[in-house]
């Protein structure tokens, strides 16, 4: 019967596309697994910043090397994912990419004390920063989530810097995070995940403020800084 034949075709076509999708997902999963493992290594490498000022530079170098490797992984991903299907498979690399945005922006901050722009982060990963009809890129939301992770880590760093006797970093962090905070306030967030992360930013800001206050009250703020503060 022709009707039956059509039905059969419909389902076998669909199964074929399901199989292909499944296979592709397997490929993606494997690439992501490797790239994710690298991110875990970088995280460990960068942990040192909380306990050892002297090794920060070295840690950044190591991180940079690992970013290169990660970038190769992203290259494979870019190749594997059909150019129109970025958002179809995004869940596979979403959290990982957010972590990379965090790690890269942290490294750059440690290196130069500046905010890594969206396209810089993207270029470290070897992908585009522009969202077009087709193509693999760095989603702006993932980039922003990465920045929120960064603020959280920096608030921890502010605390640990003081423990280590470094009274300058908290102020530097304070300025930087305040700027980001001001920036984030410009965003009218709807997205659930991003919004939730953003709501937590306040607590990081508060913690940093407390650290700076603790320093200021004890006259531990670096001189130059202090006079500005009192002004």
């Amino acid at each position: 019967m022709s009707g039956n034949h059509v039905v059969n075709t419909i389902f076998s076509d669909f199964q074929k596309s399901l199989d292909e999708e499944q296979e592709l997902r397997e490929v993606i999963r494997n690439i992501c697994k490797d790239v994710d493992q690298i991110s875990r290594k970088i995280t460990t490498v960068l942990q040192v910043i909380h306990h050892n000022q002297a090794e920060i530079g070295q840690a950044c170098l190591q991180a940079r090397e690992l970013f290169e490797k990660a970038s190769e992984g992203y290259g494979k991903l870019k190749e594997a994912v059909p150019s129109t299907d970025y958002y179809k498979y995004q869940d596979h690399w979403r959290f990982m990419t957010q972590r990379y945005c965090f790690l890269i922006s942290l490294t750059i901050w440690l290196e130069k004390g500046i905010l890594a722009p969206h396209d810089t982060v993207a270029s470290v990963l070897g992908i585009s920063a522009v969202e077009e009809k087709e193509g693999f890129h760095l989603d702006i939301e993932d980039y922003l989530v990465g920045l929120l992770h960064l603020c959280s880590e920096l608030s921890r760093l502010a605390v640990n810097s003081v423990t280590r006797g470094d009274y300058e970093k908290p102020l530097q962090i304070s300025k930087f995070v305040m700027e980001l905070n001001a920036g984030f306030r410009l965003l009218n967030l709807k997205n659930d995940h991003l919004r939730k992360r953003f709501d937590a930013l306040k607590y990081d800001v508060k913690k940093i403020e407390e650290v700076v206050y603790d320093l200021s009250i004890r006259g531990l703020l670096p001189k130059a800084q202090q006079s500005t503060e009192e002004a």
Binding site: F11, D13, F14, G183
Partner: protein, 258 residues
Amino acid sequence: VAKEAAISLPADSPVLAMFKDAALKLNDRQDRHERLVKLSRDITIESKRIIFLLHSAITEEAAEKAVKEAKERLEKLTKGPIKSIGLELENIPAYLHSRAVTAGLQEFIEARTFCSLMESKVIITWSEVQKEFQYVIKGDEDERVVVTLLTQTDYMLGIADLTGELMRKAINSISSGESQACFHACQVVRDLYTGYLGLFCMGKELARKMSTTRNNVAKVEAAVYALRVRGGEAPPLLLLPVKPEWETIEHSDDEGFY
């Protein structure tokens, strides 16, 4: 510190620029999403009405008329809101907003395939529908083609719901005396069910619709069963047992029925 920093973000700050840019992008996304959700809602409502229209035809000629009207209204959807979706996403990754439009497209598929079945007893395929979603846009000088993405999954999800409409159709055919239509609908539902049974890795959403599909099969099979055993076809004489006297009466009148 905070107050100061927050207020003093200078106009030429790269941080400010970055966030202003991000704000623009995010707002665009949200506004687009809202517009797409509205389009999807419109498609859903009209599709439901088309399905209703197709059900309401009882006689064959009424059905022909209904199919004709349905086709026109489906085309209006294709050339209206569905095209608008394509235009809206002309330069945007289509999957980014697939969740905004899935409900509308699924319902459209339900109506579209229902209509094709009533017209030609054949279900229009995914690629055929996808072809209908291609639009040639004439600019001042050149032409360009815009396509509204129909994912194969949305198509299959629509088909899964189609079994429900076919079940209704089958039972309606009984009450309006068209047993052939009923048998046909039953077999289509069975074939679709068999199709779904064979699927592998079909995805959560589709799997969730399986139990409804199973129920639809049961209902439609019960209907044709009742039609056979109670309502119709004389049972093959060979199978008849010794007739009790009351059976004689029954069968004397059986001639010419149906």
